[in-house]
Amino acid sequence: MAWSGEPKAWSEYKSDKNAHYSEIKEYDISNLKPLVAYPDLPSNIKPAEELEDVRIDQVVIGSCTNGRLSDLRIAAEILRGKKVHPDVRLIIIPATQNIYLEALREGLIETFIKAEAVVSTPTCGPCLGGHMGILAKGERAVSTTNRNFKGRMGDPESEIFLASPAVAAASAIKGKISVPEDIL
């Protein structure tokens, strides 16, 4: 499967200098650290390094938000030559068949399997508690998906911590919420 390649006309729009905004928010992100959103809202953020000894049962790397090739490359960079923690299931889901194929060609899939992760066919699956990684009561997951509402990934008494592929991969190795610096 390849990009259709057919050139299509498009229109690039830019906002006018005098465009009206209901609000303008400005952020300096120079000192931003890897974050985690703890249960049960994506707005419950904390720097990942401040969450100490949060033990986890499952890690999901994938979904519409973080199943791109660039996300898989980051995960592979951290997982290369390492093993997933014995108490953790790591589920990696390339977002499309094309991404899956590229990941295969680049050796990323081999890295994941050697690290003892599982790699799934593209699906939204666990993001919405559909399949491919439902959580039991009391279980905890780190996930690169985009929502961590109560029960979203399984039992109402399970918990989801949202994070980047880098934090997710590092956490899978350590068995608890971790930052890449803890591994490399």
Binding site: K8, E12, Y21, S30, C64, A95, P122, S164, P165
Partner: protein
């Protein structure tokens, strides 16, 4: 005018539009998945025969990605309904398992969404295509059914909040961290019925998505 207002305006026959105004706009692509498309299809099939026509079989995307490969009998029935609808109405952009990917990653990859497009999808993450400079939003399945037939959807023109990011990212800090940081600031309800416009040097297409 903001990007959002310009794109919406370009899809109406109006001369100007304002935030808060209700408009009927022409859709470039409408999207449904294996959870939401079956509801839309059932509504579509209730239309009187004279109106039961697909507006454009190239401008509908049906992507069974949520419970596929089918996880149980119910999801298999849902996918079967979508598959049969796609065959019956010759929907060009139906993606079977094997060609299927997660909808919001697949459509940009295939070049089916482009800058300036107006896209609706019966899935709340449809707003992903804003990353490409399109206006896109989630809708309910009945709105999707109406769009299947008419190629149109109603909108209330949203106000826009602009987000500007300064500085460079530290190692291991990604688009995910930027959006979590932003949600942490504005809250999960901080942009209800608003368009979010992202700018700043660090905000490339992948990070926006």
């Amino acid at each position: 005018m903001t990007i959002s207002e310009k794109i919406l305006l370009a899809h109406t026959n109006k001369k100007e539009i304002y935030p808060g105004e209700f408009i009927l706009a022409d859709i470039d692509l409408c999207l449904g998945n294996d959870i939401t498309a079956p509801l839309a299809i059932k509504e579509f099939e209730k239309l009187p025969l004279s109106k039961r026509r697909i507006f454009d079989n190239k401008k509908i995307a049906l992507i069974p990605d949520h419970f596929t490969p089918n996880k149980d009998i119910k999801s298999a029935e849902q996918c079967k309904l979508v598959r049969e609808f796609a065959k019956k109405y010759e929907i060009e952009n139906y993606f079977e398992v094997g060609r299927m990917g997660i909808e919001h990653a697949l459509l940009p990859e295939l070049g089916l969404v482009k800058p300036g497009d107006l896209v609706i999808g019966a899935d709340s993450h449809t707003c992903t295509y804003g990353a490409l400079g399109a206006f896109s939003t989630g809708v309910g399945s009945t709105d999707l059914a109406f769009a299947f037939a008419s190629g149109k959807c109603w909108f209330k023109v949203p106000q826009t909040i602009k987000f500007i990011y300064y500085g460079r990212l530290n190692k291991w800090v990604s688009g995910k961290d930027i959006i979590l940081y932003t949600i942490g600031d504005v809250g999960v309800s901080g942009c209800l019925y608003k368009s979010m416009e992202f700018s700043g040097e660090v905000i490339g297409v992948e990070r926006r998505a």
